[in-house]
Symmetry: C2
Subunit: 377 residues, 2 copies
């Protein structure tokens, strides 16, 4: 639609001042190697489809009726998975909706919310939507988060962990520090990618999720999603974990906005996904293994690859000309994400794909850099 | 959860001041005669299940990927159905979400929004959520809406048409009058039940939907839902129709809140429902026929039944003791809706059910009123 045709006369000032989020593109061509939106290369658990088919079989009884407004079965399954009470669990229409409700429920006009300057680009959009000041705290030189840089009055802190697009992980000790130093603020840890993270301490596979801290800190709220590690971006389910009082605020906000955000099929499918622990563990391990091999292949091509704890890598080609590489790949039907922003414009964010997709990517990069070398020579 | 355990210390003032919507109860017992939440007694089109099953069959390709953010296929199908352009159509997660975005997009803090005093009880909740003043305009003595009563400065008017819980229909002439007299306000016609309405002029089946006015008035926005006439309350799909500039505001607001409100299965199922015009026409006719027979049966029992254009009737027992009737029915597993509010507390809102459910209801009422007569005698 051409912007010139739009008449904003009847819009609210809120509507006029928005800067909507722009999601990564979803081109619909065949034979595309789509490594740009951090979807999982593998299908969801087969139990998901079975559970949804079961609802469909008796749809006469089911789809005509409203769904459970508080998604009780799904919340119970998540509570059991993480050894929590159901009233410490909230679910919504993707973690994007959950995050929007978080901004409305906890962050104040009087005191700003703090977030890293390089992070999920929806955070500043939410801040504008809900009229909250967002102060961007610069990441360190190595793209890490320094908790000491957050020492200022605020009503909240929101940090993606692992961060996007860097893939770097903040330790639980640092999160403890943030929560302890900001007892009057809600510290939101957006763990969209946490299931791909591994603790590096002592080479042991210890927990890295801040869910382990919510019984200790009443001001830590953890958000997660079914879109990445559970291969269910198409089903739109996200969740939050926290103290019962934080969850109650989210529930009240939801019920003042939209009582039934999760349809019956999404509730059934998501619940089945949670219960199939074995499949989940296999798939996330597979993605982590592929991340290691892709990191090795890119490193061999001279790329500087940040140590990723997510289902993507953030990599800088030798000459830093990421934009050119992205365009050249696109011509061959390989889509990766390039952010034309200060500090990160020399990097590409590449989603972990299948072995075949990685092969295609690496071959294309080899050819590209070889010919560049020749051209440059 | 006991309220006493809740600590609001970390809540935003917005969260503290909410009065969340309370949906009609969804009890999960067997053999319940559930006539309380205006769901359709008949199943959705079989095409809906088929379309969703088709997505599931190739779920490896599909559920792991994000859905189309603007639900293009669904909007195209709706545009075709109503002879509109796709950019005159907006869809969301149930008409509740659409209405929330409407409040955020068009209604101002500076000028109030006007709504009937007896109407959908979510409107005052949205007003509070978005910090907008809502002025309730009393319905006439006969529960009708008088457009002349709305002559005051406002940023918007929202009217459910047919209204709930009365079922009464406002004419297109009255809607034209409202829109013409309030050219600086958005006039929202919430047509959740419109597919069950029939024009009474000249006994002809002429259009009653304000969709027919949106090319004439740039300030009319029409909302509808898949939850009633399309038997898809469990799928959470609602829509809005209006001038491209109004639709653009809703789209921008959505993309500042949650880019992907409709999952892949809901988009596929809803699209199939729109395309199956024949089934839709049969089902809505069937519900309207059942409404006429239920109205006759209740009238025969001495009930005063308002002329309904919805999939429910609003009926007053002879003695006006609606609360007692509702309780007595509940003891027999028949759930109807009673609103304990001034002016309407002598009425029951009874959803149109299956012939068997109507029989059960009427038998129960006969017995109840007979025994009451005996007791009173």
């Amino acid at each position: 639609m051409s912007e010139s045709k739009i008449d904003t006369r009847l819009w609210s000032s809120k509507a006029r001042n928005l800067s909507p989020y722009v999601p990564g593109e979803q081109p619909q061509h065949d034979n595309l190697c789509k490594l740009n939106t951090n979807e999982n290369p593998f299908p969801p658990s087969p139990k998901v489809g079975q559970a949804i088919a079961k609802v469909l079989e008796k749809q006469a009884e089911d789809l005509r009726l409203y769904p459970a407004p508080e998604s009780d079965d799904l919340r119970a399954a998540l509570a059991q998975l993480y050894s929590l009470e159901a009233n410490q669990v909230f679910v919504g229409n993707g973690s994007d909706e959950v995050l929007a409700l978080v901004f409305a429920s906890f962050f104040l006009k009087e005191r700003p919310v703090l977030a890293p300057d390089i992070s999920y680009s929806f955070y500043p959009v939410y801040a504008q939507t809900f009229g909250v000041d967002l102060i961007q705290i610069p990441l360190e030189e190595d793209f890490s988060v320094d908790p000491d840089a957050y020492r200022q009055p605020c009503s909240g802190i929101i940090i993606a962990n692992p961060n996007a697009p860097t893939g770097l992980l903040l330790s639980l000790d640092d999160i403890r520090k943030l929560a302890g130093e900001h007892s009057n603020a809600v510290v939101v840890i957006d763990e969209a990618y946490i299931d791909f993270a591994q603790s590096t301490e002592n080479n042991q596979d210890t927990t890295v999720s801040a869910i382990s801290l919510i019984n200790e800190f009443d001001n830590i709220l953890v958000t997660q999603t079914f879109s990445k590690s559970r291969s269910l971006a198409g089903l739109r389910v996200g969740m939050a974990f926290g103290n019962v009082s934080l969850i109650e605020a989210l529930t009240r906000m939801k019920n003042s906005f939209n009582s039934f955000p999760l349809d019956k099929l999404a509730q059934a499918g998501a619940t089945a996904s949670v219960i199939d622990v074995e499949y989940f563990e296999q798939m996330r391990q597979q993605v982590m293994d592929l991340r290691e091999s892709l990191t090795a292949d890119l490193t061999a091509l001279g790329y500087d690859v940040l140590p990723s704890h997510a289902n993507f890598v953030f990599a800088r080609p030798k000459d830093g000309n990421a934009s050119t590489v992205a365009s050249a790949l696109r011509e061959q039907g390989i889509i990766v994400r390039h952010f034309d922003k200060p500090r990160i414009n020399e990097y590409l964010r590449i989603t972990i794909g299948t072995p075949a997709q990685h092969e295609r990517l690496i071959e294309a990069l080899k050819t590209l850099h070889d010919s560049n070398d020749i051209a440059a020579g």
